[in-house]
Amino acid sequence: MRDGQDILKALGRGSAGPAGAGSADGDGPAGAARTAIAAARELAVRPSELVEVLASLKGLGDFVLIDIDAVDRPEGFDVAYRLLDRGGEGPAGIFTVKARADRSDPRLPSVMSIWKAADVMEREVWDLMGVVFEGRTGLKRILCKDDFEGHPLRKDYILVRTPRFPVREELRPAEGAEGGQR
């Protein structure tokens, strides 16, 4: 896992270059970035750098946003942005950019302005994990119903032990019985 700094330096901080410029040949700042990217398959960035890094990557061309995915870890939410790297020789591979959002107040900038595909993906992460994506409109639930409370995929989400609907007495689970989760 490499720090975002050197790749940003290689990309030329603040100047993304025209789309597709980097994929042609190996020289120039875009070429150096490409080599750096080919070497590392994964990159960890701070939330503040996220938009810049992804915009620069898009500027290189040949990157397609495949998935945005969050894992609920004790240290925070690890949100992974997976890009399919179509450029360069050799088979297309996945290049992952990871950002960590705080457990207590998970916020990340939205990349919807960079790739429109991020729209539905971010909504899913918000819905199921509760990570707020800032700087976008329409962040609402997509899989759960609109007035659902809680974020189901979090580790501390309690699955309901007693049924929500009326159930005959003899079918109720015993009090204190273990639910279905680990």
Binding site: V64, D67, V71, L84, P91, T96, A117, P152, R182
Partner: protein, 396 residues
């Protein structure tokens, strides 16, 4: 619930709203005529939404001015379920994601587990995987072709393609005992070897398939009415498709040559000789036609794999409560609908810490709110059918 994200399109030049606005400006009597846009819910119960998909359409007469996807009616919490099942217990669940291409889901999951645990797959198993997966791809594409034509009311075409699919399902049943939702490709190989006489069965089925596809093609592809309903409808440009992260036949119909079987080969795809059809138009007809072409390519792949099938074991068996090392893996395959990816995080125990499915249909429908305005309801139905979505993998 009021929703500002639907919005009313201000009308690009030539659209219904623009023309209507011009007419109003020209004629005061028309301006006094009260019209209003209305909201129509297409789905979730609807004969042609391919499952419980709900589109909130804002309509001006029959033209769509705004579209919003509403999904989640089939959300079964599979990703959460995975956290309380062992890896082997969860394998049958994977087939229920994209239930029309069950075995392809199994393969993605199996590949992810193999990478996680560093498991080797016997070569015979790899060949069998290709055979069964391509048969499943043919069956899935046949469903898409049938459902697209029946959405346009060519009922006979639907029946022809579905009858062809029956032949393929018989093959899949001979291999695994199950017509849909095969739990055949597992981590370490395939559950059982191919049955006897399989090659002869495949040959007969393919002859029948070619005859029926020929009938279907002649009935539908050149039909003036069908062309009128699909040519130039729902055009997705290649740049737009890449923006929206579309993959699979939908992307290839828009001119982008991206197929993981060629660009990032897995299994033994790098040893097999096949073409990837790419069409330039990006309209609904191209999305229909490309699947017809892909069926022929899959037939070629199956025949090639059957010819080169080596002898050997078909499975590296894993213990039931297999505990892989802690780690994280993301493996992707070219499913019938696009790139399907499995992200599995293991914490060293017998159950996954996190299981996430990158679903191609989930990402593909993202394009609809931009694509729909300007289409009529009939065009929307045709476009939705051409996108070939499966709600099982959208909602998980």
């Amino acid at each position: 619930m009021r929703d500002s994200s639907i919005g009313s399109a201000d009308g690009a030049a030539g659209s219904v709203t623009a023309v209507a606005a011009e007419a109003r400006a020209a004629d005061p009597a028309l301006d006094a005529l009260q019209t209003e846009e209305y909201t129509l819910n297409l789905g979730p119960q609807h004969p042609s939404t391919h499952g419980v998909y709900h589109a909130k359409l804002r309509l001006n007469g029959e033209s769509i001015v705004g579209c919003e996807n509403v999904i989640g009616y089939l959300h079964r919490g599979m990703e959460k379920l995975a956290e309380s099942r062992t890896y082997a217990q969860f394998a049958p669940y994977t087939a229920r994601f994209d239930y029309l291409a069950g075995v392809l889901n199994n393969w993605g999951y199996a590949m992810a587990l193999e990478k996680l645990g560093g498991i080797a797959v016997p070569e015979r198993a790899e060949y069998i995987r290709v055979i069964v997966a391509e048969l499943q791809r043919i069956a899935s594409h046949l469903v898409m072709l049938s459902s697209m034509v029946i959405d346009l009311n060519a009922v006979t075409g639907w029946m022809y393609a579905f009858t062809a699919r029956e032949g393929i399902l018989d093959l899949l049943e001979a291999v695994s005992g199950s017509r849909m939702n095969l739990n055949y490709i597992v981590a370490g190989g395939v559950t059982e070897d191919l049955p006897e006489e399989f090659e002869a069965k495949v040959k007969r089925t393919f002859e029948d398939l070619h005859a029926r596809l020929d009938d279907f093609d002649r009935l539908v592809s050149g039909n003036e009415i069908f062309l009128g309903r699909t040519r130039g409808i729902g055009v997705i440009e290649s740049g737009q498709a890449l923006e929206y992260g579309m993959t699979g036949p939908n992307l290839r119909a828009s001119g982008v040559d991206l197929d993981l079987r060629k660009d990032a080969p897995y299994g033994i795809y790098d040893k097999l000789d096949f073409d990837v059809p790419v069409l330039r138009g990006g309209d609904s007809f191209d999305r229909y036609h490309i699947r017809l072409l892909e069926i022929h390519e899959s037939v070629r792949l199956v025949e090639e794999a059957m010819a080169g099938l080596p002898q050997g074991p078909v499975r590296t068996k894993l213990p039931k409560a297999w505990k892989p090392a802690a780690g994280e893996v993301f493996e992707q395959i070219e499913s019938a609908r696009g790139i399907q990816g499995y992200h599995i995080v293991s914490d060293g125990s017998a159950k996954p810490y996190r299981m996430h499915l990158r679903s191609p249909s989930f990402v593909n429908i993202g394009v609809l709110p931009e694509l729909a305005p300007g289409l009529t309801i009939q065009d929307f139905v045709a476009t939705l059918a051409s996108l070939d979505i499966v709600l099982g993998e959208i909602d998980r």
